[in-house]
């Protein structure tokens, strides 16, 4: 099982209170994790990745194992510790995202 930690606003939107546990079939990548996340919680579509391009939204970051993976290829394998469920995959709202 993969563990995903969502920012507070998206936890509220998805109506989850803590970490999300996901079953991911095949290689564990940003894309496969987010595909599984959006399949379970369709209301998250468009909030992390653009609807059309599927690119990460500018003020959303992906962290895991104390590293910023935001600029990695969406199809690159995530760290073994994430794939094995030892470490979570963190979706983070960037500190620069708010105007007011």
């Amino acid at each position: 099982m993969i563990t995903v930690v969502l920012p507070a606003h998206l936890r509220t939107l998805a109506q989850v209170s803590g970490e999300v546990q996901l079953e991911v079939v095949g290689p564990v990548t940003q894309r496969s994790v987010l595909d599984a996340l959006e399949a379970r919680y369709p209301m998250l579509r468009g909030t992390i990745r653009d609807h059309v391009t599927q690119e990460r939204r500018a003020f959303v970051r992906f962290f895991a194992c104390q590293e910023d993976l935001s600029h990695e290829s969406p199809d690159a394998p995530l760290p073994d510790a994430v794939a094995s469920g030892v470490e979570p995959f963190l979706v983070v709202g960037a500190i620069a995202g708010g105007l007011y």
């Binding site: 059309v52 959303v60 105007l99």
Partner: protein
């Protein structure tokens, strides 16, 4: 006894203010969607418990919400707004071509006859519609496909489609306005559109009477006279008596003819309201006095309405979506400020009181008159 429900969108959430017909004591609920920018919340005129809300943030983009119980509970609906076909380009601030990019929904206009049909005005300017209660949105591409689209340019706040007026006497006729492309009308339900800007004069344009490029801030209509429109333009208050074929200025004795809001009395089609704002660089009320101006003659002659409003040291703004009226016998008028106040008048503007004083900056105000 009648009730009034005021739907307030702010920079950090939505609020619902409710009162009985006296409009003296108010219940406040919210924030709904705390922390999100709520550009607009509006109810269906057919089913007042059906509300739609535009929710967005710089982090997570656009969400759409729907309520079936007057705002007690909400459910997210489809948030996918994809331009029809190849989006093409409009002009950027520097005059260069810039690809059309969806940013947010500015305005929601529920149908006058079907609670599942809603029009959405978006930035970058386009008109979308749902006919299934928000499960899917589709562009009415004839507007952006108007030959002038490549010449549209954003205003300072972005290139948003902010006004959608549905003609109650003719379902095929819709008026829209875009900052800063101007105003358009369709007579075939949204398939084709024509600019209706004859008579507008904008000094910031190289050709002041150009067909497109006018920075229209807001248009209002009285439902009994859908051919008469009132416009607050960047500068100038305007009116048309022939569905936009020809406009004339009615700024008259206003202290400044800049502003954002404009609205019409629920029972007196010639009584209109504006809030003059000092521009261009200041965007607060002249002399620090928050004054609503009312004309009972459809423009030209205006009177200041000040009772209950701050008349010194007031430097808030009133944004384009932030005024509305109820339809009780004594027409109620409401407006919200960037300082977080929502003011109400239960006597058509003669006197005012704040319903709330300390909300986040108010982006939009809508009113529902409930049986």
């Amino acid at each position: 006894m009648s009730k009034v429900r005021v739907l307030v969108g702010t920079r950090k959430g939505a609020f619902i203010l409710e009162s009985d017909g006296k409009r003296q004591k108010w219940d406040v609920s919210g924030p709904h969607f705390a922390g999100w920018e709520m550009y607009h919340v509006k109810g269906s005129p057919v089913d007042p418990n059906r509300l739609y809300a535009s929710q967005s943030s710089g982090w997570f983009g656009q969400l759409m919400q729907r309520s079936n119980d007057g705002g007690k509970t909400w459910e997210p609906v489809d948030n996918k707004f994809v331009y029809d076909g190849v989006p093409g380009t409009h002009q950027w601030y520097d005059g260069k071509p810039h690809p059309w990019e969806f940013k947010r929904v500015w305005h929601l206009e529920p149908s006058l006859s079907d609670p599942d049909t809603v029009y959405a005005g978006v930035e970058d300017a386009a008109l979308f519609r749902t006919t299934d209660g928000g499960k899917s949105w589709h562009e009415l591409a004839g507007l952006r496909g108007h030959g002038s689209g490549a010449r549209w340019q954003p205003g300072a706040g972005g290139m948003g489609l902010h006004t959608i007026l549905l003609d109650p006497s003719n379902p095929q006729r819709i008026y829209i306005a875009i900052s800063a492309a101007g105003t358009f009308r369709t007579d075939d339900g949204g398939t084709t559109w024509k600019p209706i800007t004859k008579g507008l004069h904008s000094q910031f344009l190289p050709e002041p009477t150009a067909e497109v490029g006018h920075c229209v801030h807001r248009i209002a209509m009285h439902k009994s006279r859908p051919n008469v429109l009132f416009m607050q333009k960047h500068w100038d208050v305007m009116r048309t008596d022939d569905a936009g074929e020809q406009w004339r200025e009615v700024s008259g004795n206003l202290p400044t003819d800049f502003g954002f809001v404009i609205d019409v009395h629920a029972h007196e089609p010639e009584t209109i309201y504006v809030v003059p704002i000092k521009s261009d660089s200041e965007h607060f009320p002249p002399e620090g006095k928050l004054r609503v101006f009312r004309s009972k003659t459809g423009g030209d002659e205006w009177e200041p309405l000040t009772k209950g409003l701050p008349q010194s040291d007031c430097y808030v703004d009133v944004l384009r979506e932030a005024m509305a009226v109820d339809s009780l016998d004594s027409c109620g008028v409401y407006f919200g400020t960037t300082g977080g106040q929502v003011y109400a008048s239960a006597d058509a503007g003669d006197s005012w009181m704040p319903i709330v004083r300390d909300l986040p900056a108010v982006l939009s105000v809508e009113v529902q008159t409930l049986a």
